[in-house]
């Protein structure tokens, strides 16, 4: 008879096999994300186009309101739609990933109470789903750049780093909120509020350069401000500048959010099935 692995579970002891389990269930990240993507566009007529329409329309509205009516300055000679969309992309990625991850545990309550697998997979795969949407809507940015003849320079190689920052911010916040949501459903109502509020305090519809210099550091306490500035810096060419201190501050806050979110999630994870 073949030798089988032995697993011992003891009350109150943290599991040593968590990372091994995560690895063993790695395909589940993919399957849960795949399910959510499949389900989202079932029984829709225009299907995946919805992933394009929403950011496109929001971009138009913002361009008209901030660029045309409020007449806020762009960065250098960058066309306003490109300025808005280069921020809209990371913002929508963060907002969708955060709200889906935050609600993910309750949405999958039946799985949580009936099957074992590392629960971390649930919010993480919600972030993956939003990443796919992000990739789809990036094509709009490519289209805009072609239309306006705007060419990004070498700094675009830094873009994946900022995408990673946005994902980390969304996962960190998502881990906190999803774990809290299991016990306190209040957070279901907090999520849309944060998302709506964040859209206005982050430099999505306008350039961070409109913020007075002495406030810039405080402004960067919002981690998404750093991410958005980074996106613009990487995409908009020489006309955009990056405030190093602000970027470091944002990165630090994101790392703290992610680490504390992970620890809190791990601590509460065992009681999910009991209280959900």
């Amino acid at each position: 008879m073949r030798e089988l692995p032995l697993l011992t579970i003891e009350a109150g002891k943290t599991e040593r096999h968590y990372w091994r389990d995560l690895w063993r269930y790695r395909e589940l990240f993919y399957f849960l994300a795949w399910r959510d993507i499949l389900v989202r566009y079932k029984q829709t007529v225009i299907g995946i186009l919805w992933a394009l329409i929403r950011p496109l329309l929001t971009m138009l509205v913002f361009t008209v309101i901030f660029g045309k009516i409020a007449k806020l300055p762009s960065e250098g000679n960058v066309p306003y739609p490109i300025l808005v969309f280069s921020a809209m992309l990371p913002w929508l990625f963060f907002a969708n990933a955060f709200s889906d991850a935050g609600n993910s545990l309750i949405a999958n309550a039946n799985m949580v109470t009936k099957v074992y697998f590392p629960r971390l997979i649930i919010p993480a795969s919600a972030v993956i789903v939003s990443f796919v949407d992000f990739l789809i809507s990036s094509t709009i940015l490519v289209g805009l750049m072609l239309w306006y003849g705007h060419q990004p320079d070498w700094k675009i190689v830094a873009l994946p780093g900022f995408v990673l920052m946005a994902a980390a911010a969304a996962l960190g916040a998502g881990l906190w909120v999803s774990a809290l949501n299991v016990k306190y459903r209040d957070f279901r109502h907090v999520i849309p509020f944060i998302v709506q509020f964040g859209l206005y305090i982050s430099p999505v519809g306008f350039s961070s350069s409109v913020i007075p210099e002495q406030w810039r550091l405080i402004y960067s306490l919002n981690p998404m401000a750093g991410v958005i500035d980074g996106f613009r810096w990487a995409l908009l060419g020489s006309s955009s500048t990056l405030n190093r201190d602000a970027l470091l501050l944002s990165t630090g806050i994101i790392l703290i959010m992610l680490l504390s979110g992970f620890l809190f999630f791990r601590k509460t994870e065992k009681s999910f099935a009991d209280v959900i």
Partner: protein, 437 residues
């Protein structure tokens, strides 16, 4: 032999709150309680005591320990709320025990519900992959077994139909089929076979038996004693979160029925229907001398007694009390009610027992379930109805004084018959030869 599962002192405590039901705790409540306590502290002597939430510990499982060898097929029996599901959830690592520890050897697959993670919008094909991954299968493994799964579930034609259009039978078959092809070292199954038609149930049982063939271990919870008896070589009887008995299945089932018979209190059954103005609180089966029966023999004369409480506060007339006996597959065998024998109870007292005398019980040796319906005048009002209120076992001999009853494969009801040889007869039944004088 090596042990597949070793459990020591497993306990699980839940906090239950009385007075009002809290579906989930809102942050507001937690904050309000916290802040309220701070504010109230200095004022306490002047404040009237407000009704507090009474919180109480409830031990769903206490100090459960056992050792299961590889290849064992273990049934877990017990009444509702005895802790069976909690035990399975702990062993499946879904919930953490409050105290105690367990070791488990090999890959575990648990089927606590049929079709966990099935998504109604997805097709059968998509759900096989999703469900398989959720139960811990690799993509390559699912692909390899895909045809086998589909064939077992008999859903070839509907593979690309969303499962929301499936009949419930197809749905269950597909869900079970995925799980049955997991090839785990330890399979944990909770009462999932209660669904699906009999043919498929049999197929599932066969699959489970073959799954547990090559040294695999099975843990099986069921209320269905005949399934447990046919599938498991060993059983654990849980009573109020503790192990009441652990041993060979036959012995455990006998003990379980003996226990059931003396305590089939129904007051905690929540699955009943009806107005509740009349409620059956307890069912017992007694012999004609009024002695509670542990074992019922075919052909025995029995009294089925339904103790009731009438809380309507009105003079209820024309009450009809009906019992139906089902076999374990849920098919009704017979029903009996008081109006068949033209019995009118008159005005129903506040308390009492409906007693149905069944002379010479015509049931063959097997397990049966009893359902009842208490209805009001003209059957238009159902006061109390409970399906599968109790389960009982008929075993032994006695219906035929001089012979053993036929095996229950030949039928579950027993009837009297008188046999003789007659003369050859033509089609109209007239003797072809004149009868000899």
């Amino acid at each position: 032999m090596t042990a597949a599962i070793v459990a020591e002192g497993l306990s699980k405590k839940y906090l239950i709150s009385h007075q009002r039901e809290v579906p989930y705790l809102a942050l507001r409540d937690a904050l309000a309680r916290g802040i309220g306590n701070c504010l109230k502290a200095p004022l306490r002597p002047w404040l009237r005591r407000s009704p507090e939430l009474i919180r109480e510990d409830f031990w769903a499982l206490s100090d459960v320990g056992f050792e299961i060898q590889q290849g064992d097929r273990v049934g877990i029996v017990g009444r509702n709320g005895a802790g069976k599901s909690t035990l399975l959830k702990i062993l499946s690592r879904i919930v953490e025990p409050t105290s105690g520890r367990f070791s488990i050897r090999g890959r575990v697959a648990s089927l606590l519900e049929v079709g966990t993670g099935f998504h109604a919008e997805l097709t059968g094909r998509e759900n096989i992959y999703l469900n398989g991954a959720l139960l811990g299968m690799r993509k390559a493994e699912i692909r390899r077994k895909f045809d086998e799964i589909v064939q077992f579930a008999e859903v070839e034609r509907f593979l690309d139909t969303p499962v929301k259009r499936y009949s419930s039978g197809m749905y269950v078959r597909l869900a079970f089929s995925v799980a049955a092809h997991l090839e785990p070292d330890i399979l944990i199954v909770d009462e999932v076979l209660a669904v699906g038609d009999i043919t498929f149930q049999k197929k599932c049982l066969g699959k489970m038996e073959s799954v547990t063939g090559g040294g695999r271990t099975l843990l099986f919870v069921s209320h269905n004693m005949s399934t447990v008896a046919s599938l498991c070589n060993r059983s654990i009887f849980l009573k109020d979160g503790r192990i009441a008995m652990d041993g060979p299945t036959d012995a455990v089932i006998n003990e379980y029925f003996a226990f059931l018979d003396t305590a089939c209190d129904l007051s905690d059954r929540a699955d009943r229907k009806g107005t509740g103005e009349v409620r059956v609180t307890r069912i017992s089966i007694r012999d004609q001398d009024g002695k509670p029966l542990n074992a019922i023999a075919p052909g025995q004369t029995i009294d089925v007694c339904l103790a009731f409480a009438n809380t309507s506060g009105q003079a209820l007339r024309g009450i009809r009390s009906m019992i139906t006996i089902h076999n374990r597959q849920g098919q009704p065998i017979f029903s009996q009610h008081n109006q068949l024998s033209d019995t009118d109870y008159g005005v129903l007292p506040e308390q009492g027992e409906f007693i149905c005398r069944i002379p010479r019980l015509p049931l063959n040796s097997a397990f049966y379930k009893l359902s009842y319906t208490i209805s009001g005048f003209g059957e238009s009002i159902v006061h109390d109805q409970l399906a599968d209120a109790i389960e009982f076992k008929v075993a032994g001999s006695g219906f035929f004084p001089k012979a053993r009853a036929p095996n229950n494969h030949y039928g579950q009801t027993l009837v009297d018959g008188y046999w003789r040889i007659g003369e050859p007869a033509d089609e109209s039944g007239k003797p072809t030869r004149p009868a000899e004088a």
